[in-house]
Amino acid sequence: MEYQPSILKADDLSKRYEDGVLAVDHLNLNIYPGEVYCLLGANGAGKTTTINLFLNFIPPTTGTCFINGIDVNKDPLEAKKYVAFVSENVMLYGNFTARQNLDFFAKLGGKTDLAKNDYYQVMRRVSLQEKAFDQRVKNFSKGMRQKLGISIAIIKDAPAILLDEPTSGLDPKAAAEFLEIMAELKKEGKAILMSTHDIFRAKDIGDRVGIMKEGRLVMERTRQELQYEELNKIYLNYMNSEPSAF
């Protein structure tokens, strides 16, 4: 099998905030093309901080994040060309239509040569209703905004996608549709890091699942390993135990 370098890599990554809280503690992570990595953990476990570190929203205290081999801290603008991001609550410019938002973020992501039809095509792909394409986003439901958020990630066509609890607050149908799109993106070879609370969906979609507790990655299992184990039990077990080095 041909060796493929990881697209997303955390190398001994730590983040201690000014108030002294150690949000991420010596995290090592490699996510490869065509792989979905689900990061589980309670609130405050360090999942969102990890994503923030990958996006250079905050600098690491020690260690390094790499996107497509580029040191995020040293060259954030270059690194961000290779990553798309979908947040828990996708918020867009309310006075702009879905297409205008898509157009703006596509251009920010470096896609300057797209036609109107390209935008419509992406919005159809995520099952956004046709009538919503040219409607102002301020009246969109959360599900519609999440779909538009994933459209933005798709249109950027970056090799890595970071998702911060993307299905939180979505109804089951919308969440299922969302995960279908994830599966398609995985097939296209995207490296996906998704933080979530949803153990069952993590098991369904994740090629690997990691559990974070107090900033440390306390467990990691592959899809194959999870066939013989119950992830919810493992999760509860780790949540009730003291963190230990992984």
């Binding site: 991001f85 609550n89 996708v90 006075n95 702009f96 251009k107």
Partner: protein, 476 residues
Amino acid sequence: MLKHMLRRQIVEDILGFNFLINFVLISGTVIAFSLIFLSDYRGQMDDYAIKSARNENHLRHFSEDPRDADYANIQLIMKPRAERFISLSYEDKFPQGFNFRIYPYELKVLSKKQDITGVGSYIPVTTREFIRSPELFSPDLTFVVQFLLSFFAVILAFNAVTGEKEAGTLRLVYANPAKRSYFIAAKYISAMLTLVLPLLLGLITAAVTLGISSIVPLSSGFLSKLVIFALLSLLYLSVFVLIGLFTSTVTHNSKHSLVLSLIAWMFLVVILPKSPGLLLNLKHFDVPTGEQIENQVARASQDVQKKYEKEVMALRKDEGSFLRFLDKVVDPEIDHARQEVRDHYLRRKIAAVLTLRKVNIVSPASLYEYAASAVAGTGIFHFEDFWAQARRYGDGFISFLKQTSGNQEPYTPFEFNIEWITNKQFEYNAIPKFEEQNMRIGELLKDALPYVALLVLYNLFLFTLVFYKFDRYDIR
């Protein structure tokens, strides 16, 4: 990248509700101010025409009978100017002209309250009137920009960063390879463009309203001052956009940045420029009243008389020498001393205004007001120039009388010799007439330069601060 960010921001700002309110309020205010100005200007022109006719009458009389002292005086009056609409700059608080008495030479300020027939009586121009009163309202374009547009500048910019952070769009923007400086630059440029449109519309409305009235002559000089004023206004508004952006980069929610921005605006536009005027006016610039000045003038005359008391007594026996001594030595010195007292207090009043300005330079609103006043050629700059023109005219008039008498001896205006006009008549057309000349644009810009330079420094300082703070802003 900047282009895309800018385009999105401009569309959002211009489609916003703030812009519409701004547009309507500025246009409405400018139209209302234009109408007030036109009404005032018409009154000033009528007054100026009456005074000019009176001066013409006096000069005609003087040309026919120069020994008739009743007509040997002229009122040198400021010419009404359209530039007052750009910046009134407390013009109506300054003396509106001088009474020039040909012999004995005297140049005495006339206040606004001077009745056109009340020649020679000194109308006191009190310190409080002369130094700017802390008024908030002035119906000119400077007020529109200084108060209204600067307020809108702050309102446009205060949530530039916090608003996007609260909305959640900031994270999405920065998940992309977008430079932080571009984000701030887009916000800044868009806010400036959003302010420029109502400003330009306001200026065009003003020019059109004044133009179609056909009361105010719209010269090329006036229009070029309007253009310079527009550029100056941009420099000033930029300060408040940057203040709004700054508060947005030091807070993490829009309520806090709004409160901070409004406090900053209130402090820089209302409190700071007005309070030194109130405090210093009364304590440090206690310039005497008109009556006190007249007492000083009388004392100066007595001092000179006392100085020559012995010589005058000694010369009394020889009437010819006695009169010659009075004419050549004592009287000119008395006139000179009297004029010196008046000029001294006038200089003190001007110095008081200028000192107050030095105190006020910490406020961008004051800097803008002074620069606008300099560009328009109104206010203290106008008064100083007008006073210089009045002095030159007085000197020139005496020089004319002396030259026509054929006398080549050196002289001062106070050494007027009645023989120059005895048994003489002058051709009316040859007599110098006074008409106030407008200051040249170059001179006006020179006066404005220190204030403009300080406004530029203000901008540079705030630019650096905003970019520095946003570069370290926690965008999570």
